[in-house]
């Protein structure tokens, strides 16, 4: 028994206990779960610090921890703890069934830790698929819509799990082992190897939520409880999906350029299309969900470049994204709790009533939009550099780079909308004010936004040198030297930060000067009459972007997207039911038809066998 078992076993066992907990204990469950999550995080840290020996059974390595695994394990432990903490503050007694909710949360923590430390691919697939069940149950909390979305989510995740099995089988055939930590670097020349690469990448992309397997992310974001969204689709699923992608690219296979280019295009497409969809959303959670898809594009892009800085950037972005996206979801949850709304049009002016949440949200929103000196900027910048460094792959890099930068701009645009609609502007009609976010909710948000700043300012010194590069230790071609080599000249962290801070100070001074000149405040008039404030100033953020949807080319695109033309799930569903209808018609309930099938089957098989054995024409 290795220490590595405990981060998996502890949450799963505790989770099972929580599931079975009697109703009388319900109110203690959240503290119990927080303690369990904290212990798990502690175990994760211990595992990473002590570097315990791998767990081997019958000569097969089942669990082992290397750099990349450590990074993901720590991330999983950390985010799980924060989200459990937030959940404890978020739910009032009676909102949910505690044993159901916390049981599922702990189960997913255990499964996610399992993915991070699994060395054996079968075990990885086991935990990988196991992660889908709690998500399904968490989304499925009783409403009709949740029910539909849960089905879709499980179907996409479970379906791609099956594809992963195909990939695992292919990997096994290529290498003769299930151990994925061994640097096999299988050359992609045989059919099996191609199968392996494509199938495992599909599974990774689906888990991370990249296009075209993304549709579950916005839907799940909209319907599941907020802390669960912040935990699963926004952080853990991203960490694990990108983790597997990195494994495929870095250790399992020797990826040919064609696959790299395909993945880069997928990444770029994901960035642009998802952010365009995000802009048009009027539901806060759905909008954040689309951004969660869009950001995956950068990670895929970074890793797919295969250059040192690109891979580092991709992984760093994975970490950063988990930080700011879960922070945004948590802020959204706080706003939702306060107003009871998720529609942007019906929120507004919350900055005054919940300033700390506002600060956290602004920091995270700027981080996701890639504004320096926050962490999102740092990692996106590295990804851009990585794209440029991957010039040898032909002119694709130009398209991809443009797409990535364009996507970043649109992200900013859509977060301006969010900040405006939710926090700024006039408060909407006073509805019964919900609860202020308590300390349990604020702490995770502030910690996460603090990390956004910290990892932004010390991006290279702390983020890259202390976190990402150690995680990539032992991978050829990716070390500090290679990283600095590609980075040199384009961006030194120190100077950039100083310049940016200087710029900020200048901006602040300009702002202060402008406020010295006093403006006169007065009622506003419409046609000589005093207009009521509410009518005049109630600009809904949603309206800003309606014009984008009206553009001639884009109009059709959006219309088709509404009709679910681009939803792979819907298209497959329609095809399936077409075939089903046809086959059902064949089963017409007449005995003679069925006997005919049997006879025809017999004749065909007989003919086939006789033909194969070359007897047809000899004896008959």
């Amino acid at each position: 028994m290795s220490l590595l078992i405990w981060p998996i076993a502890l949450p799963i066992i505790v989770g099972a206990l929580v599931f079975c907990a009697p109703r009388g204990l319900a109110k203690y469950l959240k503290w119990f779960s927080v303690v369990a999550a904290a212990t798990t995080f502690g175990l994760c840290i211990t595992c990473v610090a002590e570097a315990p020996p791998s767990w081997t059974v019958n000569g097969e390595v089942l669990l082992a921890l290397d750099g990349l695994g450590s990074l993901v394990l720590l991330g999983v432990g950390f985010f799980s703890l924060l989200m459990t903490l937030y959940s404890a503050g978020f739910f009032k007694p009676g909102d949910i069934s505690e044993s159901y909710y916390y049981g599922n949360i702990l189960l997913s923590v255990g499964a996610a830790c399992g993915v991070a430390v699994a060395s054996n691919l079968i075990l990885l697939a086991l935990f990988w698929g196991l992660l889908g069940i709690p998500l399904y149950l968490l989304i499925n909390t009783g409403s009709e819509r949740g029910n539909t979305v849960a089905k879709k989510t499980l179907l996409i995740l479970g379906g791609t799990d099956s594809v992963l099995l195909l990939g695992i089988a292919a990997f096994f055939v290529s290498t003769g082992s299930f151990d994925m930590l061994v640097k096999s670097q299988v050359p992609v020349v045989s059919v099996a190897a191609w199968f392996g690469v494509i199938c495992i990448i599909i599974a990774a992309l689906a888990k991370a939520g990249a296009m075209p397997f993304h549709t579950w992310v916005p839907d799940a974001s909209e319907t599941a409880p907020v802390p669960a969204v912040a935990m699963l689709p926004a952080s853990l699923d991203k960490l694990l999906g990108i983790y597997l992608l990195a494994r495929v690219f870095l250790t399992m296979y020797h990826i040919p350029n064609s696959v790299k280019i395909a993945c880069m295009l997928i990444g770029a497409g994901t960035i642009v299309f998802a952010v365009m969809a995000a802009m048009m959303q009027h539901n806060l959670r759905r909008l954040l969900g689309f951004h969660a898809v869009s950001q995956v594009g950068y990670m895929v892009l970074g890793i797919a470049t295969g250059t040192a800085i690109g891979v580092v950037g991709g992984l760093f972005h994975m970490l950063n994204h988990a930080i700011y996206k879960s922070c945004l979801f948590l802020a959204a949850g706080a706003a939702e709790k306060r107003t009871g709304e998720t529609e942007l049009a019906r929120m507004g002016g919350l900055a005054k009533v919940m300033p700390l949440t506002f600060v956290a949200a602004v920091v995270a929103a700027f981080a996701i939009s890639g504004i320096p000196p926050l962490n999102g900027f740092a990692s996106k910048w590295m990804v851009y550099n990585g794209i440029i460094a991957a010039k040898d792959m032909g002119f694709v890099w130009v398209i991809v780079l443009v797409a990535a930068m364009f996507g970043s701009a649109l992200t900013l645009a859509s977060f301006v909308k969010v900040l405006h609609s939710v926090f700024l502007g006039q408060p909407k009609e006073p509805r019964q004010a919900g609860k202020q976010p308590g300390i349990l909710m604020l702490v995770p948000m502030l910690v996460l936004s603090g990390l956004c700043i910290l990892l932004g300012i010390f991006a290279v010194r702390l983020g890259v040198n202390k976190i990402i590069l150690p995680a990539l230790a032992g991978i050829e071609g990716i070390d500090e030297a290679a990283f600095n080599q590609t980075l040199a000249g384009s961006w030194g962290s120190g100077t950039a930060t100083i310049l940016l801070i200087a710029a900020l100070i200048v901006g602040l001074i300009i702002y202060l000067f402008s406020t010295f000149t006093r403006a006169r405040e007065d009622e506003s008039y419409v046609g000589g009459e005093v207009g009521t404030r509410a009518e005049m100033y109630n600009f809904e953020g949603v309206e800003f972007y309606k014009t984008v949807g009206e553009m001639p080319l884009l109009k059709n695109l959006y219309k088709q997207a509404d009709a679910k033309w681009y939803d792979l799930y819907e298209q497959l569903r329609r095809t399936t039911f077409y075939i089903t209808g046809w086959l059902r018609k064949l089963h017409d309930g007449v005995l003679h038809t069925y006997v005919t099938w049997c006879v025809v089957g017999l004749v065909v098989i007989l003919w086939w066998l006789l033909y194969s054995y070359k007897i047809l024409g000899r004896a008959f």
Binding site: H587, D588, V590, H592
Partner: protein, 115 residues
């Protein structure tokens, strides 16, 4: 020859099952199929001018084996007949019940289950 005869009988039975609409006729066709197989087994063991496969002290073992018909198929056919009898009885019972419920013996009218 034996093979051909029984195959033809077998096919006649299958043809009946395939084309007849009446429940009873289908059941009879089934009986034809089953009989054809039984007949086949019997004919396999038959030899022209053979004696009953009962060994007596009067006849030496070697010559008995040379003359008697094969007893094994007979034993098997006996069992097969019992089985087909059971199936026949059950099928007729079901056919009668079906007639009570649906008011018809036409199998193409009895198709509530489909798709």
């Amino acid at each position: 020859m034996v093979y051909l005869l029984c195959l033809v009988l077998f096919l006649i039975g299958i043809y009946g099952v395939l084309t007849q609409r009446n429940l009873i006729k289908i059941i009879l066709s089934l009986a034809v199929v089953e009989s054809s197989v039984s007949l086949f087994l019997i004919l396999l063991g038959y030899r022209v001018g053979g004696i009953a496969p009962i060994e007596t002290a009067a006849r030496p073992h070697e010559s008995f084996i040379g003359m008697s018909v094969d007893p094994l198929p007979q034993a098997m056919v006996l069992t097969a007949i019992v089985i087909s009898l059971g199936v026949l009885a059950l099928s007729i019972a079901i056919a009668m019940r079906l007639y009570q419920r649906y008011g018809t013996y036409d199998v193409t009218q009895i198709r509530n289950l489909r798709g």
